[in-house]
C-alpha cells in the first residue's frame, strides 16, 4: 500500500482553502496531503469503470456493427441489428415470455412478501430464528436453487406430486409441460429473490408510525381495511423498492431459467435474457446479441422510471 507515503502531517497545518461555510467538511483539520483522496478512491473508480462502465458502452457501440462470418472484420451497419431484432418473431415470442415471467414474479413475490412480512411483524420479538430462516435462500446460487426445485417439482417422486397424489390428484409433469414450466421458473425465481422483499417490507412496517394505526383503530377500522387503506399505502416506498428489485432481477435474470429449463420445453421459458444468451453463445451472433442486451438495459431503465412514477402517485402526501 502506498498509504505510508501519505502519512506526513502537513507541517504547521495548511491554511484552509478560502473561507468555508460552517459545518462543511474541511480537509485541513484532518491534515492529509492533497493527493490522498485521489489515491484512495482511484483504484475503485478505475476498476468499476473498467468492469462495469467501459464494457457496457463498448457493447452498445459494438451492437451497431455486423460481420459476415465469425472472425471476419466488423462492418458498421447502424441500427441494422435492432431492425432485424424487431422483425424477428423469436424476439416477440421471447418478449411475451418475459412479460409473463416478470409480472408473474412481481405478483407472486409481492403477495408472498407482504403476507410473510406481516406475519413476521407480529412475532417481532422472536424474530431472530425466523429471520435466519427467511434469509437462507439468499446464500444459494441460482443453479443450486434450480436443482432443489427440479427435485421438488419432479413429476415422478417430487414432494408436490406426492402430496397431490395423497389427495387423489394426478400431478402433472411440471417441467415438461410448456404451460406449467413457466410457473415453476417463476416460483424458483421468487424463492431466490424473496428474502430481500420480505426484509425491505418488514423494515417498512417497523417504520410505519403506530399513531396512524391507532387513529384508524379509534375510527373502527378492522384488520383488512387497515391493511388495505393504511398500511399498504404507507408501505409505498418499500413496495417500490421491492418492485424495482424484483423486476430488475427477473428481466435481467438468466441463471434460474438457464439452469432450470434452458428456455424449454418448446421455448416456453425462452425469455429475452435467454434469447440474448443463445444468440451470443449458441448461434455466435455476438453483435445481434448485444442489440438484445442493449434493449434489455433500456427496458430495465424505462420500467424503473414507470415504477417510480406509479409509486409517487400512491405515496401519502403529508
Amino acid at each position: 500500500m502506498t498509504a505510508t507515503t501519505l502519512t506526513k502531517p502537513d507541517p504547521g497545518g495548511r491554511k484552509p482553502r478560502k473561507a468555508k461555510k460552517p459545518g462543511q467538511d474541511s480537509n485541513s483539520v484532518l491534515g492529509h496531503s492533497k493527493a490522498a483522496p485521489y489515491l484512495f478512491s482511484l483504484p475503485a473508480i478505475l476498476l468499476v469503470a473498467a468492469i462495469l462502465g467501459f464494457p457496457v458502452l463498448y457493447g452498445v457501440w459494438q451492437s451497431l456493427f455486423t460481420r459476415e462470418t465469425l472472425g471476419s472484420p466488423t462492418e458498421y451497419v447502424g441500427f441494422q441489428n435492432y431492425i432485424e431484432m424487431f422483425q424477428s418473431p423469436a424476439f416477440y415470442h421471447a418478449l411475451n415470455r418475459t412479460a409473463i415471467f416478470v409480472f408473474g414474479s412481481l405478483i407472486l413475490g409481492t403477495v408472498l412478501g407482504l403476507v410473510f412480512a406481516f406475519a413476521l411483524f407480529r412475532v417481532v420479538e422472536k424474530l431472530r430464528f425466523l429471520r435466519a430462516v427467511t434469509v437462507a435462500p439468499y446464500i444459494i446460487s441460482n443453479v443450486a436453487a434450480a436443482v432443489m426445485f427440479r427435485i421438488l417439482f419432479n413429476s415422478q417422486f417430487g414432494l408436490l406430486n406426492e402430496t397431490l397424489e395423497f389427495f387423489g390428484l394426478d400431478g402433472p409433469s411440471w417441467l415438461a409441460d410448456p404451460g406449467l414450466a413457466m410457473f415453476v421458473v417463476i416460483v424458483t425465481q421468487v424463492w431466490t429473490d424473496l428474502p430481500l422483499t420480505i426484509l425491505v417490507l418488514l423494515g417498512g412496517l417497523m417504520t410505519v408510525d403506530k399513531a396512524y394505526l391507532d387513529a384508524a383503530l379509534v375510527d373502527g377500522a378492522t384488520g383488512w381495511t387497515r391493511a388495505r387503506h393504511l398500511t399498504i399505502p404507507l408501505l409505498a416506498p418499500q413496495l417500490l423498492i421491492s418492485t424495482v428489485w424484483l423486476s430488475y432481477s427477473t428481466l435481467t435474470g438468466l441463471g434460474v431459467v438457464l439452469a432450470l429449463t434452458g428456455g424449454g420445453p418448446l421455448k416456453a421459458t425462452q425469455t429475452v435474457a435467454m434469447e440474448m444468451y443463445t444468440t451470443a453463445f449458441r448461434s455466435l451472433e455476438f453483435e445481434s446479441a448485444l442489440a438484445i442486451a442493449t434493449f434489455i438495459l433500456i427496458l430495465n431503465a424505462l420500467l424503473t422510471l414507470v415504477y417510480v412514477a406509479i409509486g409517487r402517485r400512491y405515496e401519502y402526501s403529508q
Binding site: 484532518l30 457493447g59 429471520r131 425491505v200 438468466l254 442486451a293
Partner: protein, 310 residues
Amino acid sequence: MSDIHREEEPAFAASTARAATAVTGAPQKSRPAGGKTRRRARQVLLFIPLIGLMLWTLMPFLVTLSVSFKDRAAVFANPALIPDDPTIAAYREVLSSESFLTSFMNSLIVGVGTTLLSILIGVPAAYAFARFRFRGRHLLLLFTLLPRLVPSLGLMVPIYRLAVATGMLDKRITLIIVYTGMLLPLAVWLMVGFFQQIPREIEEAANVDGATLWGRLRYIVAPLAAPAMITIGVLAFREAWNEFTLVLVLTSTPGKRTLPYELYLMQGVEGIANFPGEAAFTLLTVLPFVLVYTRIEKYVVAGLVTGSGK
C-alpha cells in the same frame, strides 16, 4: 370483527420503531391481548402464514437433503421424505470426484480473492468519499446507480470478448477482478454510510494528538468499521461463490470452473439424471455457509438491506 378491545397497548402507541432495529431484531414489547379464546384463535391464525414461510423456505432444502441420502433407485422407488435405507454413497461419490474438488478449490480461491480485493480497494475509496472533499466526489452517486443500470447480463458478451482479446479467459484472477468490480459500488456505498456515522471529532482529536492519517485509519477507523468490513467480506464471498452467468462465459476448461458451473454441467452430462449426486453436490456447495451461518447471518441481512435500493 372489531379489534378495538384487543388493542390495549398504550406503551406501544407512540413508539416509532425504526427499520434498522427491526432488521437487527431489537426486542419489542409483547402485546397483551383480550379474551383467552380469541387470543388462541388469533395465535393460530397468525401461525398459518409463519408455517407457510417455513415451508416455503425450507421445503426445497429438506427434499434435497432427503434425496441426497438415497441411492438412485430409491429416489424413484421410495419417494418418502425420510429415506428408508439412508446411505452416504452420493456424498462419497461427489467428494471423490475430480470436478467437485477442483471447482471447490477454485470457488474458494476466487471467493477469498474477491473478498480481500473488495476490502482492499473498497474501504480506502469509501473513506475518501466519506471524509474528504475533493473533485470527483460526485462519482459516488454514479457508483450507487451503476449496479442497477448494468446487470451481469449486459456484461456477458462484452466482458467475454474483452477477455478473449486480452487473453484473460480461463483465469481465476479474471474472475476475482470482475467480481470485485461488480461488487465495489455496493461495498463502497455501504462503507460510506458507515464511515459517516463515525464521529469526525474522534479523528480530529487524534489528529491534534499527532496521529497521522495512517495511524488514524489503523487505530481508530478500522476497528470501528470492522462490522461493515465483515459485511462487505460476506457479500463479496457470497457473490463469488454463487455467481453463475459470468463464470459460464469466462471459463471453459474443466480445471478452471467454479462450483455453480460444475453443478450446472452435472445436470447435462449423464443420460439419466443423477438426483442423489446433484443433491449432495448442492448441499456440499451450501455447506461452508451453513457452518458459519449463525455468525454471519446478521451481516448478510445488513448487506442485503443496504444493497436493496436507495
